[in-house]
Subunit: 359 residues, 2 copies
């Protein structure tokens, strides 16, 4: 069988497809919309590893009951803290319920912390930052994931790649400032890609299974990815793991289960969202004015030799988002094939590629 | 005049000396105690660049009135947020007032955010983490400082070296887990030291004034220190700067004034403290039990080739602290000379070195 050629799809066609798959699997409509939107937005923002390529495994796990289709999410308020049990729902669904509740609480209290256990992979942290910023609030978001990073001096992965994200709203009509960084030097996805393409990886990215530095991507995938900036990234990964597991009662380190492995228990991923309702203590207009000045002054710093421009975190993401909203999302033949199979299995129409009628 | 030989001092002698200098300058006793304790604790924990070597410049600026001896610190509560104006007090004094107020509020609300403007250099972030942990609370602390780090692609320092710190309490009698990392690859202090000793610095630490990479410490000091992990550290420095200046109304980037430069305006440094009163939503005993298990499992990870042990962030600091509490704090001849001059100027007795009677 010849693999399908890569094609470009309209984002709203993919959105509608993913949404229908989720509802067909029994998910409530609002949750299906959030889950589909999170995946397609990741594709629009060039974070394809967290995009619709995940729909297949999500659908499989939802179908098997290893992720709950209709989780009974419980939210316990304790002052300005929400202690949340996601009841093993999809990470995006649990997270959006948590974030909305925390935003409502912060509306009153200025700051609210949502500490979430019993969840799953939540997609990109940037997604939640965007949502908070769209509503005029700043956000700090963190999560863990199955082991990827070893402790400094250790040779076995223990911590997740543990992203730390910050979102700050800006003047209306401008993209928010969104910082979304993992605690590792490089994304595991880049190592997988190098392995597929038979290329070596830069020194300093990973260690092999004996803990020795390696530039062989296959050895790196059997070993572990190194923390950002050496011992500092280890300390950061550890702090984030403590925030999202010890303060939430979620699993930590090697106890977090992997979505891609068969027959594992519930992942019990943990998240933390700290919502800041800026207007509760600042004049919001004044805040956005100062933000504009801050960003303008950063852009005006003289360039280093060889540099072309100074980018604000979130700018590249926004530019690619706008391009793809217009030109569409390009999917690999493997992903298209998987989505077509899913379309048959769930009896949901898979869209034609953009301009596909004439192909 | 022959410079004084390096000597070792008892920590409580230095504490008492610094406290008397501060009170002699007109500082209230409780504030003087906090300021002195912060400096001496930094020396005890091997963070000498934030230790008693700073007393001279602090005393000078307090004496000149460029830092307020008795600031009228104002604390505006907005729900679970405290918006604080430090009235140009010493950073340690303003920060401890802010932290205490935030801890009291978090006692009730579970989480409290203190957003502080009008402050000065606050010493080590670890100091505030230690204080929160001693009281069973977790803390996230951030501050800015005069420009040290350029934006990615820029050649001029803009952001402070902007530390991000996390403190987590552990079982009673055990040291807390304290992560205290700057957003730069290496501390500026290490570059100053290399310059003094005529050594080169590793590639990747700094750029010269044209933005070109350099291993010459003198060129690096005219240029800027590079962010931790490249573009990620830039994004982190930017996010911290936004947290502590845009959300506090403190100065940002090049508008933050330098304590060491003559005739500058008030520094207007900003800090952010997010206090988490764990017992408000978790069984505290259960939390510390899980923390113990977490740390034990990290320590049990098999060692990488060439590694001797896996350290938990805060462990090395605690070990050195205990050693120096017993053996004393060693000061360089330059620092001793400066403190002796201060002792004469303020009419405060400077202590004998440890066992100094017999030297």
């Amino acid at each position: 069988m010849t693999p399908e050629a890569p094609h470009t799809y309209r984002h709203d066609d993919l959105l509608s497809f993913a949404e229908q798959v989720f509802t067909r699997l029994g998910m409530p409509e609002e949750d299906a919309r959030v889950a589909a939107d999170s995946l397609v937005r990741a594709d629009l923002e060039d974070a394809g590893s967290h995009g619709i390529s995940r729909l297949g495994i999500y659908a499989k796990r939802l179908g098997e009951g290893r992720i709950a289709v209709r989780p009974a999410i419980t939210i316990e308020p304790h002052g300005s803290i929400l202690h949340i049990d996601g009841d093993n729902g999809l990470g995006q669904v649990v997270s959006m319920h948590a974030l909305r509740a925390a935003m409502e609480l912060a509306g009153e209290t200025g700051i609210a912390g949502a500490f979430v256990r019993g969840s799953n992979h939540f997609g990109t942290a940037a997604y939640y930052c965007q949502h908070a910023c769209d509503n005029g609030m700043a956000l700090i978001a963190m999560t863990n994931s199955p082991p990827g990073i070893p402790p400094w001096g250790g040779r076995k992965a223990f911590f997740g790649t543990n992203p730390l994200a910050f979102g700050f709203p800006t003047k209306s009509g401008q993209p928010p400032v969104i910082v979304d960084m993992s605690s590792s030097v490089a994304a595991r996805g880049k190592i997988i890609l190098a392995d597929k393409q038979g290329e070596s990886i830069p020194a300093g990215w990973a260690i092999d299974e004996n803990g020795a530095p390696t530039t062989d991507p296959a050895a790196a995938l059997r070993g572990a990815v190194l923390p950002l900036g050496g011992a500092k990234g280890y300390a950061l990964a550890l702090a984030i793991e403590a925030m999202v597991s010890l303060l939430t009662q979620a699993a930590f380190g090697p106890h977090v289960r992997n979505l891609y492995k068969e027959n594992e228990d519930a992942a019990n991923v943990g998240h933390c969202f700290l919502v800041l309702n800026i207007a509760r203590w600042l004049d919001y207009e004044e805040y956005t004015e100062r933000m504009e000045q801050f960003l303008a002054e950063i852009r005006a710093v003289p360039l280093a030799e060889g540099a072309e421009s100074i980018l604000i975190p979130g700018e590249r993401r926004e530019r690619i988002y706008n391009e793809r909203m217009e030109r569409g999302i390009s999917l690999s033949s493997e992903v298209i094939e998987e989505l077509r199979e899913l379309s048959v299995r769930c009896d949901v129409h898979f869209p034609q590629p953009k301009g596909g009628e004439s192909l």
